[in-house]
């Protein structure tokens, strides 16, 4: 990594603290984001709590439609329109509540101190603009870089994500690049302003497996070098195992279990977590892929109790009337389930 980058990092945040130490970089408390549509109120994010420290990475796992992506977009306050609105909670970033920021202040944070890599990275680049223009944009807007300086920095970023021949690629259009290359460009755009928090929303789903592994390694390296806090949304436990320090399992807009990665893999407590775990091919050795019966509930008409009750093998009477909340059952291991000893 180059000296210029180091200087920028040092200038921004002072001496990087050791991973995991000190106050959380991001702390989300009881976040609620609802989407108001014609047929009602979709509770996409329904009271979510988690926190991330510098140099740490948190994985959020769950089925599609469980509210993972919506959680990240809520942190960024880029909500689905029309109808998306944050109706409650706090998003504390470096000690400040993002929900109290003005639109303008929020714009200065987005892409600058918090960056995000979106789900469909192949479609994330504007087909009408060159890679260079799209790379320089955040540098110009947030850091006030212009002309040659911005260009130098853009080239440096492309080198940083290990793109070959950056001098040529910087003038090309997205359609002239392969999927893996575009993926790297999106990564380069995200780290352009040296963010302290990186949100990655299933960044590898559109890639084939070998490219996926390379990309994950790259993200991990960048994180270590720059002491990033990272949130990694995925439905793939394999990726979580490779990349994340902590995991939060999300279901129907809520977090149902959270623990250190190792701990969760060894001792999944929530019935949904263990069911997900059983779906992993390498985990169940009887060679037949298992699935979880039933479907996630309609987020516009959530039942009063636990959202997983209808699909749960360990369901109680109480599950249908009262929703359990997250409770710590072991150090750092929280679960929301009536069936778990010591929980709720």
């Amino acid at each position: 990594m180059s000296g210029a980058l180091d200087q920028a990092a040092a200038g921004r945040s002072g001496t990087p603290a050791a991973p995991g130490a000190g106050a959380p970089l991001l702390e989300v408390k009881d976040l609620r984001m609802h989407i108001f549509v014609r047929r009602g109120e979709v509770k996409a994010v329904d009271g979510v709590n988690f926190s991330v420290r510098r140099g740490e990475s948190l994985g959020i796992v769950g089925e599609s439609g469980s509210g993972k992506s919506m959680t990240l977009l809520s942190v960024m306050q880029v909500l689905p329109q029309p109808g998306g609105r944050i109706v409650g909670g706090q998003i504390l970033f470096e000690g400040e509540d993002l929900l109290r920021k003005t639109a303008r202040q929020m714009r200065d944070i987005r892409g600058n101190r918090i960056a995000m890599i979106t789900q469909d990275t192949l479609a994330s680049l504007n087909p009408a603009l060159t890679i260079g223009v799209q790379l320089r944009e955040p540098l110009e807007v947030h850091l006030g870089m212009r002309g040659k300086a911005a260009n130098e920095r853009a080239l440096e970023l492309l080198r940083h994500v290990q793109l070959s021949d950056p001098a040529r690629q910087i003038r090309s259009y997205p359609h002239e690049m392969s999927g893996g290359m575009r993926q790297r460009v999106v990564g380069a755009i995200a780290i352009g302003c040296k963010p302290s928090l990186l949100l990655a929303d299933e960044p590898t789903t559109a890639l084939d497996v070998t490219v996926q592994a390379q990309y994950l390694r790259l993200l991990r390296e960048i994180q270590k070098e720059t002491d990033l806090g990272m949130i990694f949304v995925t439905h793939d436990f394999g990726i979580v195992a490779k990349v994340c320090d902590h995991v939060a399992v999300m279901y129907a807009g809520r977090i149902v279990e959270t623990a250190a990665t190792r701990e969760l893999f060894d001792r999944p407590l929530h019935p949904y977590s263990s069911a997900l775990m059983d779906c992993l091919p390498q985990r169940n050795l009887d060679a037949r892929l298992r699935t979880i019966p039933g479907h996630p509930p309609d987020l516009a008409q959530l039942p009063p109790g636990c959202g997983f009750a209808d699909r749960c093998s360990r369901v109680h009477e109480r599950c249908r009337t009262e929703a359990p909340s997250l409770a710590e059952v072991a150090p750092g291991h929280k679960v929301a389930c009536w069936d778990v000893e010591g929980a709720a």
Partner: protein, 306 residues
């Protein structure tokens, strides 16, 4: 790029060829072309003279060749009514037509595109709803009816603008506005639907996540892409505008080429009508050519492919 240029130029040639063929065949379909090209009162000598100059006794393809070579030199014969070269009459009307079409196009672009973009941006709002209602009504009113409505309101009701003719800027307002509304409505609808598609894409989401200003997202990231379908339809829109322009010039007695064509047909002055039609077709072809180039410039995927 070179190949694209050649293809665009090829389209111009084909359009002009077909238009000249249509005019030529119509001339012959009437029986005796010479009769259409001289006044009723012409002496038999004059008719014979025209016949031999057009080579009407020769095979059809030779005649077509003669017709084209005359047309290229701008020779469409004399006006049967005014005894002046038809081409000269058409060309003398050109400034007026340019004036009204230019102002209308300017107004339409100035309002239609931003309204469409903003309507898509604020989709479902009262602004969007009223823009859509305006577009639905505007689309339902034929241009000559629109002209009459505007005359009725501004010239006869409020008495603030003249009803017809060409003079100062006040004369220009109503015809230009009539034509502008027609084009503007089409632009608004097209821009809106194409921008709605674009604003739902991932790259717009990424632009937001980068922390860009909304105006920059809308115009630099959105409109660059949203403009492409609009440009694709621009050719068809120009065809419509030429048609509407002819009608509007007739409604407001505007002394442009369209008005000239209409009045010369009403006076059965065929050479002038023919010259006008071919000149307008040529004008159209050239603008279609420009649009083809513009499209290539807008879409890098076309620009870079050989």
């Amino acid at each position: 790029m070179g190949r694209q240029l050649a293809a665009a130029f090829g389209r111009v040639v084909v359009t002009l060829f077909v238009a000249s063929l249509v005019v030529f065949l119509l001339l012959h379909a009437s029986g005796d072309p010479a009769r259409l090209l001289v006044p009723w009162t012409a002496t038999p000598e004059r008719v014979a003279e025209i016949r031999s100059s057009l080579g009407l006794d020769r095979p059809l393809y030779v005649q077509y060749g003669k017709f084209v070579s005359h047309a290229i030199r701008g020779d469409f014969g004399e006006s049967l009514v005014f005894r002046r070269p038809a081409m000269e009459m058409v060309l003398s009307r050109f400034p007026a037509t340019f004036e009204v079409i230019g102002v209308a196009l300017g107004l339409a672009l100035l309002f239609g595109i931003p309204l469409g973009v903003y309507s898509a941006h604020r989709r479902g709002s009262w602004f969007d709803k009223s823009a859509r209602a305006f577009a639905a009504v505007g689309q339902g009113i034929p241009s000559f009816v629109m002209g009459i409505i505007l005359i009725f309101i501004f010239a006869l009701g409020l008495r603030v603008l003249p009803t017809s003719g060409r003079g100062g800027i006040t004369h220009l307002i109503l015809p230009a506005l009539t034509l502008a509304i027609y084009v503007m409505v089409a632009l608004l609808r097209l821009t809106r639907s194409s921008m709605i598609d674009v604003l739902g894409t991932e790259y717009i989401k990424l632009a937001r996540l980068k922390g860009l200003r909304e105006s920059r997202i809308l115009w630099r990231h959105g409109f660059r892409n949203g403009a492409m379908p609009v440009v694709t339809f621009a050719g068809i829109m120009i065809v419509g505008m030429i048609g509407a322009g002819v009608v509007v010039e007739a409604v407001f007695a505007w002394p442009g080429v369209g008005g000239l064509i209409v009045s010369s047909v009403q006076a059965r002055d065929f050479p002038v009508a023919m010259a006008g039609v071919l000149v307008i077709t040529a004008l159209y072809s050239v603008s279609a050519f420009v649009i083809d180039l513009l499209y290539g410039w807008l879409d890098p995927r076309i620009r870079r492919t050989q």
